[in-house]
């Protein structure tokens, strides 16, 4: 099944259509394959950069997963074995023609590969090096055995995610690493901006742990009140109602708080002013939060009479923040998702033309379509012959010895 792109809706905001902006056209990015930098590479490719994905030669044998297809799209793909000296030598040859290098891993591993900023900067002073490590590149935990799940556990966010009494629950697999990649892309754009003036590259560094630890006031609450936030299921810290509700055909999320003045009153009006919620003090969010156990069941009984879409559309018509709890498929099928053309048609090897999520934002009204999805090593000749300047024989020798 594929989600067809609807007829390009009028974009009243965009005015006369300007051409597709490519802010990073002419910027060349080398991405040393690792899930932690894959999303950064995808974002930069979407902005017009030429992203060369460097994968180990054995990747040629693997059948691509949906994640491979998603993160490879719009990139060029070469194979290179960085475990051997000849491979690292080729990477350095490539770096001479690059503006940015994206690489992941703890500092010890980077030193072993000879891929630290200190290794690269003297030879390539204009190269921006974008690095992600689970615990960053410095500090006593930098080289501890780790991965994305370990970093997530130590970020504070996991301790407040899940049901009280049950184990804390991590976000879906790889999510923390992908999010760290978005921060990396931002840092790289800042470093490129600076480089235009200073002509010097810099190291951009993201710690997966820190990328999550900025969220949700865990640190500031501990500092300010000397207490820790705890897991409260889906119940929001201040909004009441402010949680997931089971309804006729699934679930919705509702959020009624003082930050949206009048929303409690609008909810009561819709509910026909039930006597259980008549207490005038309930008009105050803080008071409601203290009486969540009395309020939520009344609201839940009301919501249970409706479907997700009924609650969504009628709630929003009444300017109430109610949204369906969607599966990924349901989000794609949502009217708004379709109207804005979030899913665009792209050609995917082995699948033909199919719907694929496009860029995360519209630039001058354009959704950047995902360009083709290369197979591992597809651009070996173009890159090694055309860019690095190897001769046919040299490339053949590297291929023979399994380096590319």
């Amino acid at each position: 099944m594929s989600v067809r792109r609807p007829e390009t809706a009028a974009l009243p905001e965009a005015g006369p259509r300007l051409p597709l902006p490519q802010p990073l056209r002419g910027v060349r990015v080398l991405e040393v394959a690792d899930r932690r930098v894959a999303y950064a590479g995808r974002l930069l490719a979407g902005l017009g950069a030429e992203v060369i994905l460097i994968e180990p030669p054995e990747r040629r044998r693997d059948a691509p997963t949906p994640a491979d297809l998603y993160f490879r799209s719009g990139k060029k793909a070469v194979t290179l074995d960085l475990a051997v000296a000849a491979g690292r030598h080729t990477l350095f040859r490539l770096a001479a023609y690059a503006d940015v290098l994206l690489v992941a891993g703890p500092p010890g591993e980077r030193r072993r590969l000879g891929l630290t900023f200190e290794d690269l900067h003297p030879a390539f002073p204009r190269l921006v090096v974008g690095s992600i490590a689970d615990f960053g590149l410095s500090g006593p935990d930098a080289d501890r055995p780790a991965n994305e799940l370990v970093a997530f556990a130590e970020s504070g966010l996991m301790s407040i995610s899940g049901t009280p009494g049950e184990p804390p629950v991590a976000a879906p697999p790889h999510h923390a690493a992908d999010l760290a990649g978005a921060y990396l892309a931002f840092g790289v754009l800042v470093a490129l901006w600076e480089r235009a003036r200073t002509r010097r590259g810099r190291e951009v560094e993201v710690s997966v742990q820190e990328a999550l630890a900025v969220e949700e006031h865990t640190i500031s609450t501990a500092s300010d009140e000397g207490r820790d936030l705890v897991r409260v299921g889906s119940q929001h810290m201040v909004a009441v109602p402010g949680s997931v509700f089971r309804v006729k055909d699934g679930y919705v999320h509702a959020y009624v708080a003082d930050t949206m003045p009048g929303s409690w009153e609008r909810l009561l009006e819709w509910m026909g002013h039930p006597p259980e919620l008549a207490d005038e003090r309930y008009r105050q969010g803080l008071y409601r939060r203290a009486h969540v156990e009395e309020i939520t069941p009344v609201v839940a009984r009301f919501f249970a009479r409706f479907t997700r879409q009924e609650l969504y559309l009628e709630g929003q018509r009444r300017r109430l923040c109610i949204t369906p709890v969607n599966t990924p498929r349901e989000y794609l099928e949502d009217v708004q998702t379709r109207a804005r053309g979030f899913v665009v048609q792209a050609r995917v090897p082995g699948h033909g033309w199919v719907g694929v999520p496009g860029s995360p934002f519209l630039l001058n009204g354009h959704r950047v379509p995902p360009a083709g999805v290369p197979r591992p090593g597809e651009h070996n000749r173009e890159v090694y012959l055309g860019l690095v300047g190897y001769g046919e024989e040299e490339l053949a020798a590297l291929a023979q010895s399994g380096v590319v």
């Binding site: 006369p16 023609y97 840092g187 889906s234 630039l363």
Partner: protein, 446 residues
């Protein structure tokens, strides 16, 4: 404060597209302006030195998504002017019992910024905003879709008046489409996109998801990416850029593989909780004490052997159910029970210390107080102590991304409402004391 230094006209006037842009494989960055000549002279007010020194951003933001985006920019030296009003205040200004319209949450996302109060319901307030935009590089806003056009600040008008201005709009569901006016908060975006559904233990009947505003941070960093993209675009074309960022779509972009499972394979992604295919054992385990947990992951045979050694549970090595990864995956439940029997007798910190020394990836499920005291985060300068003269001292997390060699610090605590109104009008717009007084008398500056 440099009252005698009104702002000079902008040096970097619009240039035709492509001028000074040589192209070529390696970008030489022509077109990026140097530091602004009109930078304030007072060290407390002056834009900080840094990679983004000289970039001025006007924020019409509230709550998390918008303010978090400009906080990221401020860490690297961008000058952020938050335009607010007594009539339309950042929701966080009065979330708790506020002192001087300051709250802990507001104090987090508005560090390093200046606050200018303008009543934008009044034409004279909008006129001042226009004069500020003429002297700024970017505008970022996360109001409802209809607000800016109501004030006559739609993109075509903004682009005509300020052709070099980068405009980032970041509504919950985008600035276009039939649901553009729908109200959403961070948790609603998680619910819409599929995160709430996927962020659960497998096989449970109840959907819990996360009560957090996680999606706001995702939208915020994407808005910062888009704003920087706009600056780069302008440097090479001389033109501003219009960014229409839907917080839902930015969040959804991080679920790309889950959507492709459906689009390509017709298969729906399901919640997996803390289990990961590549780890056996792997997951979250109870430790000794009240609400104490750790995560442990074992991928390779070497890690498995290290786990057996570190726990002293040598019987596992002889158990045929745990012979190799295939068997361990098959008998995941039995293995998890055995491992939890070991972890639940020890404090989480001790479990992690033992396993870490043995080379097994393991982590403590840390709470805020443990992060605050964390030697690693402290050594990295991640904890920022902010002593606010009009509020109270609080420690906040630092920047989630660093440019090594440039310390991303909190230079200034979050402003009180309108704290910098006079300074901005005087130093940026070059207004005299009399003019400011007149605007004040007309109730424009509230």
């Amino acid at each position: 404060m440099s009252a005698d230094r009104p702002e000079r006209a902008r040096a970097d006037a619009p240039r035709p597209a492509g001028e000074g842009w040589p192209g070529g494989a390696v970008w030489d960055g022509a077109g990026v302006p140097g530091p602004r000549p009109d930078a304030g002279q007072d060290p407390a007010q002056a834009p900080a030195p840094g990679p983004l020194a000289g970039v001025r951003v006007v924020e019409l933001g509230h709550m998390i998504a918008g303010p978090f985006a400009t906080l990221l920019l401020s860490y690297f030296g961008a000058e952020v002017i938050k335009v607010e009003s007594r009539h339309r205040m950042d929701g966080f200004r009065r979330r708790e019992a506020a002192t001087n319209y300051l709250t802990r949450a507001f104090g987090d996302f508005n560090r390093n910024k200046r606050s200018l109060t303008l009543n934008l319901q009044q034409p004279r307030g909008r006129e001042l905003l226009g004069r500020l935009l003429a002297r700024s590089d970017a505008l970022l806003e996360n109001f409802s879709a209809r607000v800016l056009p109501q004030w006559g600040l739609d993109w075509p008008t903004l682009h005509r008046r300020y052709p070099r201005l980068v405009v980032v709009r970041m509504q919950g569901l985008g600035a276009t489409g039939p649901h553009r006016d729908f109200v959403t908060f961070g948790p609603s975006i998680l619910a819409l996109t599929g995160f709430t559904y996927l962020w659960n233990a497998p096989g449970t009947d109840e959907v819990v998801g996360s009560q957090t505003a996680h999606a706001d941070y995702i939208a915020g960093v994407h808005a910062a990416v888009a704003l920087m993209a706009g600056l780069h675009h302008r440097a090479r074309t001389g033109e501003g850029l219009h960014v229409d960022l839907s917080q839902a779509e930015a969040t959804a972009a991080l679920l790309g593989p889950a959507y492709l499972e459906w689009l390509l394979l017709g298969r729906e992604a399901r919640p997996v909780g803390n289990t990961r295919r590549e780890y056996a054992p792997g997951g979250c385990y109870r430790c000794a004490g009240e609400d104490e947990w750790c995560v442990i992951t074992v991928r390779t045979e070497a890690e498995w052997e290290a786990l057996v050694r570190a726990t002293g549970c040598t019987e596992w090595a002889l158990d045929p159910r745990f012979r190799d990864r295939t068997q361990r995956t098959l008998h995941r439940q039995a293995l998890d029970a055995a491992l939890e029997a070991w972890t639940s007798r020890r404090p989480a910190a001790e479990v992690v210390r033992l396993l870490r020394a043995a080379g097994v990836p393991a982590g403590q499920v840390k709470k805020g107080s443990e992060l605050l005291a964390d030697p690693h985060l402290r050594a990295r300068g991640f904890i920022h102590h902010v002593d606010h003269p009009a509020f109270r001292p609080i420690s906040y997390p630092g920047a989630p991304v660093r440019l090594v060699g440039h310390e991303a610090v909190t230079r200034r605590p979050a402003p009180t409402l309108g704290q910098d109104t006079e300074a901005v009008l005087r130093d940026v717009l070059g207004l005299s004391a009399e003019e400011i007084e007149r605007y004040r008398a007309e109730e424009v500056l509230v």
